[in-house]
Symmetry: D2
Subunit: 103 residues, 4 copies
């Protein structure tokens, strides 16, 4: 999975199926814009909360996908490279996981 559709110049071209992520993020951006409209129109609170839960779920899924890519590419690469780099990558990953779990 070498890839990198256009940002071939990026240092971290590890994201598999980047177009799919970008499409999902576009959708999430539209959903947050939708929440703004719902609040400005005094939509019933419970309906707004349902939308917010949908967005946080979608964001969590993006995060979990990126994390999986990270483990598969960056962490594996660092381990194969050996040395302190691998330890540092795993520490970073663990910290990111903790932030996702604790929210």
């Amino acid at each position: 999975m070498p890839a990198t559709t256009d940002s071939a110049t990026g240092d971290h071209g590890y994201i598999s199926d980047k177009d799919r992520y970008l499409a999902r993020l576009k959708r999430i951006e539209g959903q947050t814009r939708g929440i703004h409209r719902l609040v400005s129109e005094d939509t019933y609170c419970i309906d707004i909360l349902t939308q917010i839960s949908a967005i946080t779920s979608a964001l969590n899924n993006v995060a979990l996908g990126l994390l999986d890519d990270h483990l598969k590419h960056c962490v594996v690469g660092a381990v194969q490279g050996g040395g302190a780099e691998a330890d540092a990558k795993i520490r970073e990953a663990s910290d990111a996981i903790a932030r996702l779990v604790r929210k």
Copy 2:
């Protein structure tokens, strides 16, 4: 986004300090647009995850604020009105809380 601005004219004008919510949601929308850019630029995954955690935190805070407003206004109003309406409102609130907690 025409909106009513004056919550007094809304159907569910229960949201306290609506302008503050709208400003926070604008900021969250900008942050999700930022994630899209980070992915398209192949930014280092861990930095993207940090941003996503910040957005889900911000969305959770909006949701918790709206829920508090909901309890204070809709639920209290329904209880004062009496009858089955109050039960229905509390059931809805409990379901929304469960969605937020389980994500």
Copy 3:
């Protein structure tokens, strides 16, 4: 808040179907004891994590049930009683919800 061991006389006898909660909590206690055994026996980490997720889910469900009971009984009662008591109860409920959501 004087408290009283006998649930029949308790100040907060609001918990519906208390026996069911107690049975669920007994099961959760057994599950946490099970985790201790799994760790002491060097069980494969992923299997331990699966068990921990099951316990936190079960605890969240207990919490959501208690919260629903709380809204239905304490909050409704306080609103019907009127005055500052209702505000205080709702503030407490919102704080508890925030703790559950943020974890």
Copy 4:
């Protein structure tokens, strides 16, 4: 609870500082027993919820610690061993992370 105590003899002796985990899990077990008592004594619901949040936080911390150990030992070992084993370990880890995040 016979157990092996000495992690060196375990199949998956990857858990660093096992005694510390065991002590934390003993404490968590005691806390769940405490929740049972609080419910049976009709303790004020909000106080029970506070305790439940403390337990789920403590369990999350144990899970995050075990996951970090897993990445550092099992995943790194599998990557060094090479082949499909590493992919399988990472897939398992990602699934476990998803369960923790989604709860």
